[in-house]
Structures are given as C-alpha cells and as structure tokens.
Amino acid sequence: MERDNHQEGEAQGVKICDPPSERKPPDTLATSLSLLGNHMFPDPVERNNSTTDKEEPADLHLSDVTAQEQSLDAEPPSNQVKKLETEEAENSECQSNESAETTDRGAEDAADRVTEDAAAVDNDQSDSGEFVVTMLAKAKLEEQGIGVKGRSSPLLEAGTQESPAFMSHRDEDVTADSWRQHRKHVFVLSEAGKPIYSRYGSEEALSSTMGVMMALVSFVQSGDNIIRSVYSEQHTVVFLQKGPLVLVCVSSSRQSEQQLRGELLYVYYQIISMLTQASISRIFEHKKNYDLRRLLAGSEKILDGLLNLVDSDPSFLLAAIHCLPLASSLRDSLSQILQKAITPNLVFSILIAKNQLLTIVQEKTVIEDTRLEPADVHLLLNLIGASSAFQAGEIWTPICLPLFNPDCYFYAYISYLDPPECTVCLLLLSTDKEAFYAVAECKRKIEEAMVAQNSLSLIAKAQSYSVSQVGVSDLRHFMYKPFDVPDNYRQLSQFTSPEMEAPYSSEEEKMRLLDLYRYMHSRIHSTSRPLKLIYHVAERETLLAWVTSKFELYTCFSPLVTKACAITAITKLLRWIKKEEDRLFIRYPPKYSTTPNPSKSSRGGKSDQQDSTDNGFLSLL
C-alpha cells in the first residue's frame, strides 16, 4: 500500500501544480458531457476538490537522500552504504507496508476512497462511448492553462463518416467486456473528431467514442486550456495533442502519466515517420475533415507492432538502444566494412541482427549537426520487424526520421543478408531518392566483404547474455544505462540488460517485472519529486534503482536479499559491466564522409527531399 500511496501521491502532486481555480467551471463541463448523451454523470466537482486536498507529502524527506554521486568504478562501500543507510527510514517503512501488500489492490483501494460512489456507474455501460465518458466523468479533470486560441470548435465540423476503400481488419466487438478489459487502449483522432487509429476494435465502430473524446478535448480548449489527463480508480486517460492530431491513451497499467504520454509520442512519431509532419499539417490545413485513414491504410500493423514493443521492450522506457553483445574486434570489423561501402549522400549505415543493433556508421557532417536519437532507431527497427515483405527482396522506401527532421524523407534501402533465415538486416539511409542502384551496389560490396571475413557465421553465434555470467548470486536481472560513453554528446544512448530468465520466463512474469521497472522508473523520474535511489521490497522480489550523473541502473534481486548483499552485488555488477563494456556497447560509433555538398543532406537541407512531400498527397484531397 505504501507503494501505491506513493504513486497516488505523485499523481496528485502533478495535479496540484495547477491552481484549483479552474478557468472553466466544472459544472459546465458536466452539462456539456450530459448533452453528449451521458445521462449518468456522477458530479465530479466535489470530489475533484477533495482529491486535490488529499495530497499527502508522504515521504518528502527522501528527495535529498541520495543527492551525492557515485563514480562508476565504485570503490564504494563507505559511501554507498551511507547512502543506502540514509534510505533506511523509508525502507523499513516500505518493507512493513509492502509486505502486507497483496498484489495490486493498493491503488484501487486508495482510488476507491476518492471515487467510491462513481463506481456504481460501471454496470450501466452499454457501449464503448459510454465506457470512456463514464471514465472521464468518474474522474478528475486536469487542466492546464496554456492558451490555444483561434480554433473553431471541431465539434461543428465532425461531419459524416466516409469509409475508406481499404477497411481495417479489426473486427473486435467494441461493446464487449473483453474490449474494455484491454490493459491499454490507444486512439488517434483528428481535430475534427475523425477516427484515425484504434489499437483494438475498428476505428469505425469507435467513431462515436472518439467523437466524445474530441468533444472533451475541444471543450476544454475552448476555455483556453489543454486537457492532459484524467484519473479514475482503474484507468488513467492521457491526452496528447500534436498539430492536428489528438492521441488518447486509456490505460489500466498503472504507469505514470509521463510514461504514457511518452508512449503516445512514439505513436505520433511512427505516423510522422510514414507521412512527415509537414504533409500532415498541409493536408489538414486544406481540409479539416480529411480522413487520414486513407493514407494510413495498411499501416495499422506497424502501429500495433509498435504498441506491443512499447509494452514489452524496455528500450522505449529507457529511451536507449539495446545492442547485441559482440566481441569488439568483430564489431569493429563490421563497422569497417560499412565504412568502406559508401556512395554520395549516404547518411547512415545500420546493421541489425535478431532485431538488435550490431553497428551503426554515420555521415560525419550530418552527425555534426545533429545526433541520431534512439527513438528514430526504435521506429526503424519496428518498421523492419512489422513487415515480412522485407524478406522478399530489396526495399527502397521513403521514410522520415521524426526526431532528426520531422518534415523530410530519407530513402531507406533495406535488405536481409542471410536469406532464407533473414535475421541479419542491412539498412542504408540516403538523402537521394534516385540513389537506389548506387546504394544497392554498396550492399553488394558489404555482402562480399562479409563473405570474405566469414562475418555471417560469427554474427550467428552472437547472443544476449545470462545474468549468471555476472556471477552475483541473488541478482536476477538488471538494466544499466550509462551516460558516460566516450563521445557521449554525439553518441546514441544505449543500455545493457541480460535475458529475462526464470522466474521471469513466462509472458506474464516478464510483464510483471517490466511493470515493476516502470514503477521504479516513474518514481526516479517523477516531475514533482525525483529520487536518486529507491530500495523497494516487493512481494516476490526486491528491487533497487539508482541514478547518478554517470548511469541509470535498475536491479532485481530475490526477495530475501539483505541490503548489505544488494550493495555488494551492485558493486560487483558495476565492476563486471566496466570489464565487459567493450562487448556490451558500441563504444566509438564510426563515421564516414559521403556528402559532396554538406548542406544538401544536413538537417536544414530540404531542397532535395521537399518535392517528394509536396508531390502527391495534396492531389489526393
């Protein structure tokens, strides 16, 4: 309970930073919702206030506990022990409370206190629209006073629904309980309230639900506020508006609002990676009522795949790349092969095995301007993973790296080097759309060199490692993200982590451990009260999360580990990582120079690519 009270406390902490004097009288909102057909609005007004009042500063003493830093080579005990000792107060508190905690009841109980009487409404839900409305109504609205002016009410424009030629494959019954019980729903809609994407169920069946969401968003906007999140006892609803798109997450996963918003941002970026921000803006400037599903038809699988990865792969949570452990000599030789196979306007050469990065070589001048963000690499990996079509031959496709430049396309050459197994994939990104043959020639050279050096069979032997190799008993799993990699400011953020092994081999247990990590992460990165060190005794394991200026570390131990043991273990672990870091990380990302005219392919050089964004989409309107 302690644990979940913390969570609750944090959530409330976030809310509290807004003055309780809402710009929009809440009863008007209630009226508005009831006009939308929700006759069950349970009057959230009083509860809003009471919730706000309930914020308890629980364990504020924690925030200064571990402000000091620890160097990586950790000659620790004295220093470290002291820190952990300081935590003791909280820990014992945690222990006593958390051992009493039965699975996940805590938060629900806490929330129940907040919204008890609203819970009865659940039984009356008869369609998905009401599901959302009820949730929204039951909960407290958080508004933020950032002005969004000069927008007409999108409600007025939510016109009739045209169905696109290519229909979505989803045929889940959106009125069924099973639909409601999904752990995390994600919806994307246009400002005009048109459905664009739904993770479960067809967008069409959900159009009224999305209409309600948009009504809510626009209603709050009309008061110059932005709706950010809504909490109920079981769900967190998070809104994210990006340009003309509105993304909504309805989650029962207990993640923090910040984390959920980060996930929505990934969804947005994946859409941008296919269409570019510039063309989306232009489309909606020309026609507010445009049905974007026309342009996203066939890409639902890519978004589905992304959301599954976001749930199951901690790379997204940590915003870092997980590269495949590889002897540094082999990684270097692969990098050199890529470095030699170049052609003008080639910007990135990326080698992937088993969906993990082997190496990446970058164009010098381009990377001087800007660094490659992990999120862009995640989107690329997801795109490759989501399409079996890549196995058919060589792919040449426009693709936008939204964090690199949201308005321009790269041209990606994608080909597997080991058919028919198709586990080793080469990705070459050029700024020149006409460069297919030249880039394909690079691939041929790379292939030849790899045959000469027998690289493929060496790569095939590479694999992730077991935590047992660290040689620390009681340590079950960890995630380590260094900040001190050489050349850091031009470097990709990376992390290392062993395979998840017993007792985390089943899907459920894996997810449970990830949820614990997400919880630790949300506390470490809490906006209201960030922490440096958390020692968390859960029912079936003990976790320790620690962030310094040099690294971020999450560890999972067997439940009965003593604190002294955990400290010694972490010291050993840090030593082991230090010893292995050449194998675990891409240490010095190699570069090449391929840009005859640097301005052409650098971040600002749009001349070459701009026509491809202009061309076409507008003519479809």
Binding site: M274, L295, T397, P398, R444
Partner: protein, 204 residues
C-alpha cells in the same frame, strides 16, 4: 529501348525493367513471388517498393528481369513515379473480386499514359485472383474491353493457384513485345517457350 548491360555483365544479357502497379491488396507481391520463386506465401503490405531480379536464360540470350513491386497503399502514390520511370514493361494489376481496384487501375492507366510515349513500354492489364470466381465483380469481358480500348495486352491470373501458364504468358508476351528483332523473337521462343532456371537470382 532495351539496354544492353555493358562492362561487368556478359554480352547478350538483356535488362528488362518491369514494374507492378495497382491498388493495395490486389496481389502484386504475390505475383512477384510467383515470378521469382514460384511459391505463394502470406504477405504483408509492401513498404515503398520491393526490388527483385529474375534471370531467365533463353537459348541465346539471357534476360535479366528487374521487377519493381510497388506499394499500392495510397500514402506511397506520390513516390510511385520514382519506380515506374523508364520501365520496359508495366503490369497494371487489379483484383477481379474488387470492383474498386479495377476503377483504380483505370486511374493508374491515365497517369501512365501521361508519362509514356506509345510503344516505348509494354503495358499489361492483369486481373488477379482468378481463383475467386465465386466473388467475381469484374467480368473477363470488361477487362478485355478496357484492354482493347487502350491497346493493352490482357490476362487473368491467380497467384494463389499458381496458374503457371498465365504467368509464363506474361513473361513471354512482355518479352515478345520488347524484343524488336523478329529473328530473335522467332528463334528465342520457337515452339518451346522460354526455359527458366531454378530459383531467383537476387543480385547476380
């Protein structure tokens, strides 16, 4: 309009650029897979464009088909000209069980006609999914009539059933249309038709 590979390629290799066009889901990638590997597998929508090569050895000439299997999804339409430019053969594919794909094919045709001078490209109208006769929405006559009207060749195929004859026919006639020397044509195809070597040749 056939380019002879110079330099590295052996003399007598004809490079034939062939592009597959049509709405998403009509079976372009499935047809390409038939051409390339003579198999039928489940596919996912193509991203951008897939490039495959297929080398066909005839008695005295080697044809290297460079197949550009374009994505039918609307978001890629703006880049499709990148792929069909300079094609020797264009296969315009529709799904006989989906009328809108036939209508869409006519839109494609208009666009192609703007790009090509008559005679420089052999164009085929291909009604795919011939095996779905029970769901047919476009009759053979309609397909044939459109083809006649626009001076295209026409055939119905099934990538699923692997209607080998039809596939070979596409190859043969596409090539026949391209090879201008009547002698070569006659000698090449005689009565036996082209002989295919095993497997696809992805890059040499």
């Amino acid at each position: 309009n056939i380019s002879f590979h110079g330099g590295e390629s052996p003399k007598g290799t004809l490079r034939v650029k062939m592009v597959l066009l049509g709405s998403s889901g009509v079976g372009k990638s499935s047809l390409a897979l038939r051409f390339g590997k003579d198999e039928f597998r489940s596919t996912t929508p193509t991203v951008g464009c897939a490039y495959l090569t297929r080398v066909v050895h005839l008695s005295d000439v080697t044809l290297r088909f460079e197949i550009w299997d374009t994505a039918g999804q609307e978001k890629y339409h703006s880049v499709t000209p990148l792929y069909y430019r300079g094609a020797h053969a264009a296969l315009l594919v529709y799904d006989i069980s989906k009328r809108e794909t036939f209508i869409r094919a006519q839109v494609w045709l208009k666009e192609l006609e703007k790009q090509y001078t008559p005679g420089s490209t052999v164009m085929w109208l291909v009604g795919n999914k011939g095996d779905l006769a029970q769901d047919r929405q476009v009759s053979v006559q309609e397909g044939q009539a459109l083809a006649n009207d626009r001076d295209l060749s026409f055939t119905e195929t099934s990538a699923l059933a692997g209607d080998q004859v039809s596939e070979l026919l596409i190859y043969k006639k596409a090539v026949l249309g391209l090879i201008e020397s009547p002698d070569l044509t006659k000698e090449t195809f005689g009565n036996k038709g082209p002989k295919f070597k095993d497997g696809p040749h992805i890059y040499h």
